[in-house]
């Protein structure tokens, strides 16, 4: 451990030329309510609607804004504000506004609105029923209104058009603290709507003891259920991943362990997993660990009790991978800093993750968001929101 780190250190000292510090800046007076806003909050999401228009959501000041593109992201429309009243929008690290399309052209947007106390937030929801011309005033989807953690929203539309939202919630931690009891981590809660987001079905708990600050992966299933993959805290403090299911009736099923790196740590990785299913129903996942001897990003197929076809993704600096699947094709995209630039890299499998080819998709010399994979007509695209090239969309071959 010591030696490896020392080598890394020396490499770092050799590789890095002293770069000028970028001056600290304020948010400026024109962004009145963006108390926690940053110009570098690049978190963005995108989805295709049923007609093939690509929609993206990102943050501008104290607003979630959507843009659309009819040429696969080469050009984008002007931004349209989702929340007309300004409010804080979380869009850095593993937090980003989300967008999903309904079955009949509806557009759904969620984000986390940070509240004044650290780690606190509310999960906000807005919809457009007029093809993205206007959005409803945002609502908070959970009934619990304590100023505590409700953060890291995940959004998906299910087979019957069900709008499904999950998030990290600390109400059980707070209750345990008030009772003087111990509680590991946070919890995964969810709610859903069967009326296009007009109403939600209450706050439901999927699992106790999730990690506190990592994105949740949500995958709609063919039967109307949803699979969720998240970083968990297994006893006593093992931050590997758990897989849970919400069935078509909306009932949550007990989580099972999905990854087995044995990363025992009390830390905030800010580095959540991703999940996809191929035509055969096999589950493909990517995740990050710093378990001793296994530091890095990994790909593997999830099966009960173990990982199949597991392999390392990228090099030591690989980060924030995403995975998608169509038929037997599986794509993984991630970013990787090389000492000077952040590279967008990918690997592609034509046979369900058994064999892979590597792809170099681009690079940027400034701040960048996590890459997000999109599927379209059997192919894959990557949304990569960088400061240099906002909302860039790159096609995989």
């Amino acid at each position: 451990m010591v030696n490896r780190t020392a080598i890394g250190w020396i490499a770092a000292l050799a590789a890095v030329a002293a770069a000028p510090a970028v001056a600290q800046h304020s948010d400026g007076d024109h962004q009145p309510s963006a108390a926690k806003a940053s110009r570098h909050a690049l978190g963005a999401s995108a989805a295709f609607d049923a007609a093939g228009t690509l929609w993206a959501v990102h943050k501008e000041g104290a607003h979630a804004v959507v843009r659309h593109s009819t040429d696969l992201g080469r050009t984008w429309s002007a931004p349209l504000r989702v929340n007309s009243e300004p409010e804080p929008v979380a869009a850095d690290g593993d937090a980003r506004p989300k967008l999903a399309a309904g079955l009949r052209g509806e557009l759904y947007v969620t984000w986390t609105r940070p509240l004044s106390k650290p780690y606190t937030g509310e999960i906000r929801f807005s919809r457009s029923l007029d093809g993205g011309k206007s959005f409803s005033p945002p609502v908070t989807v959970h009934r619990d209104r304590q100023e505590i953690t409700h953060r890291f929203d995940a959004l998906a539309v299910g087979r019957g058009g069900r709008v499904f939202i999950a998030w990290i919630d600390k109400r059980d931690l707070e209750a345990a603290k008030a009772a003087g009891a111990e509680y590991r981590g946070a919890a995964v809660y969810y709610t859903f709507s069967d009326d296009q987001g007009a109403s939600f079905n209450g706050d439901r708990k999927l699992a106790d003891h999730s990690c506190e600050c990592c994105r949740i992966a949500v995958l709609p299933e063919a039967d109307g259920g949803f699979l969720l993959l998240w970083r968990h805290v297994f006893p006593p403090n093992v931050r590997d991943h758990a897989l849970g299911r919400v069935d078509a009736e909306g009932r949550g099923g007990g989580p099972r362990r999905a990854t087995f790196d044995e990363w025992a740590v009390d830390a905030c990785p800010h580095h959540g997993p991703s999940l996809a299913a191929d035509a055969g129903g096999r589950l493909h996942a990517v995740w990050f660990t710093q378990a001793p001897g296994r530091e890095g990003v990994y790909y593997g197929r999830l099966r009960a009790g173990g990982i199949e076809g597991g392999r390392r993704v990228g090099g030591d600096a690989a980060a924030h991978a995403d995975v998608a699947a169509q038929g037997e094709r599986v794509a993984v995209a991630w970013k990787e800093f090389d000492g000077e630039r952040t590279r967008l890299r990918a690997m592609l499998s034509e046979n369900g993750g058994d064999d892979w080819s590597n792809l170099e998709l681009g690079a940027t010399a400034g701040p960048s968001d996590q890459p997000r994979l999109l599927t379209r007509d059997g192919g894959f695209l990557v949304l990569w929101n960088t400061e240099e090239r906002p909302l860039e969309v790159v096609s995989l071959p």
Binding site: M1, V2, R4, T5, A6, G8, W9, A11, A12, L13, A15, V16, A18, A19, P20, A21, V22, A23, Q24, H25, S26, D27, D29, Q31, P32, S33, A35, K36, A37, S38, R39, H40, A41, D92, G93, L115, P118, Y119, R145, E147, E212, C213, V265, D266, A267, C268, P269, H270, H271, Q290, E295, D316, A317, A319, F337, G339, T342, G366, P367, E387
Partner: protein
């Protein structure tokens, strides 16, 4: 939450006021946060040449980091020969909050820096290409500047042992 709209400028004043109150409550002087860029780690090492030191990265958005802050002042008090360098990784927008949190702890003898480059990957690489961004992240340098790295909340017994081991080995 109330629905009273507070003008942005007032909010800044109020936030600043809260920070000042916390500072006063802690009886501490506002810590100057030195800007940490991709050359800073070299500057810190040069300043500590031949001496052991601890380089610790934290964030206001990381609960175990904030638990850890309570220990740094204590450890510094018990081991004055080892320099403690804390680096706040938060965005400049959270700098006031970070200052307020720091002011709640007795960190007068601890050197405090703050990330000053929005290109965080570059900063992390300058520290350690193997660092995935998890927090807290702590590097223990002996007098020969051989680092031992730890992710996550530290084992206090281990830290005390390491610190004691530096006495007479460059620490003074």
């Amino acid at each position: 939450m109330t629905c009273v709209r507070v003008p942005a400028a007032w909010k800044r004043v109020l936030r600043g006021g809260i920070a000042v109150l916390l500072l006063a409550a802690a009886g501490a002087v506002a810590a100057e946060l030195k800007p940490f860029d991709s050359g800073s780690v070299n500057a810190i090492r040069a300043a500590q040449a031949g001496k052991p030191f601890v380089l610790a990265f934290w964030s206001v958005h990381c609960p175990p980091c904030r638990e850890e802050l309570a220990h740094w002042g204590h450890w510094q008090g018990r081991h004055p020969g080892v320099r403690f360098v804390l680096v706040t990784t938060d965005d400049p927008a959270d700098r006031e909050l970070a200052s307020a949190v720091l002011a709640q702890h007795d960190l007068n003898r601890v050197e405090i820096w703050a990330f000053a480059d929005p290109y965080q990957e570059r900063l992390r690489w300058s520290v350690d290409p193997k660092w995935g961004g998890e927090l807290p992240r702590t590097y223990f340098f002996d007098a020969g500047h051989r680092p031992v790295v730890r992710s996550g909340r530290l084992d206090g017994v281990w830290v005390e042992t390491w610190l004691a081991g530096q006495e007479g080995a460059g620490a003074r």
